[in-house]
Amino acid sequence: MCPAYEILSAYIDGEVPFPWNKQIEEHLSSCKSCSQKVEFYRKVQTSMLEDSEPDYSPPMQRIWNKISELKQSNQYIKTPIWNKKISIPVPLVGFAAVLVIFIGSLLVFNVMTSDPSSVNIITHKDDGSMTEVNITAGDAEEIQALLRALESNNTPNEVIIQLPEGSTGFQVGEPELLRAVDFKRKR
């Protein structure tokens, strides 16, 4: 009975231990078919071991040349920036978060304290040039500060008059708001 292909292959590679290798040798000496197979396998093995590694440098050079051409013509596919991995230190991230919260709070504070009824105050010099004044629409605090600076007291936009002792008033008619000339004419 002839041994299987795997056993003959192992025998050629020297992987069959004693005494099985001796038995195969005895079989090969009496079996022409198996000895031809072994001869063929040995030729294949010898040719494979003798063949040198193919020269890959020409195709590799062609590939590198192609990549260089793509780079020069901006057709080289770059990795998008949003796909790049960036490593940021954790303290820096924390500081950035605090900064964002602070700026957001400032914006919210300004929006909440802005006075929509305020107006721009534009200042001009006599020569036509403009003077920069930090008063803008919605900046009620600045306007109040300006009015305080003008009036040298702490109660802008408010007048309190204490009438003299004993001054009594009686309602003698509906309140009236009119021009002085109309008032004189009316009387």
Partner: protein, 174 residues
């Protein structure tokens, strides 16, 4: 490296929370040059007169206030039997040299004869020119008083554009 980063963060946070309150509380300064060149400001002159029948002004007081268009000036009068709070809001009529004044007032008034307190409100607008005198009569006006100690209360209002005036030493109003 990590220790340095933490120190930087701590210092930054410290400066942030120490300096921010000062930046909010600091009173803006306006130099004389700026105040001289301000435009779009209004100067409101109030003159409060107590007038007895016969057009005799027994008492008067003048006050000056500065404001900007669309910002009200509050006038409070306190007498023996009444309290008046008036809000005067000037508007510049676009494209003209005229003003519109909205006067809104509240009056608490004690009538000694009836021994009750009355409260009434009033609102009215009027258009006029810069420098024109406006008269506001919070209690109405009559020349036929039955009560000898009663007065007409007359508030004269003049609004002119702001012009710079040298600061005075007085602490109160002008």
């Amino acid at each position: 490296m990590m220790t340095k980063n933490y120190m930087l963060i701590h210092i930054s946070l410290f400066l942030l929370f120490r300096l921010v309150p000062f930046s909010f509380s600091e009173e803006p300064k306006f130099d004389e040059e700026t105040l001289k060149n301000l435009k779009d400001l209004l100067k409101i002159e109030f003159a409060v007169n107590l007038i007895q029948p016969g057009e005799v002004s027994t008492w008067n007081e003048k006050k000056v206030k500065y404001t900007i268009p669309e910002h009200p000036v509050i006038l409070k009068l306190e007498g023996t039997n009444f309290k008046f709070i008036g809000s005067f809001t000037p508007y510049i009529i676009p494209g003209t040299d005229k003003l519109m004044l909205i006067a809104a007032s509240q009056m608490w008034f004690i009538d000694p004869s009836k021994k009750n307190m009355r409260y009434f409100t009033y609102i009215k607008s009027i258009s006029f020119s810069f420098g024109e005198k406006i008269v506001f009569l919070p209690l109405g006006f009559t020349e036929n008083y039955e009560k000898s100690d009663a007065h007409n209360i007359q508030i004269e209002i003049i609004i002119v554009p702001y012009t710079y005036e040298e600061p005075q030493d007085s602490n109160g109003d002008q």
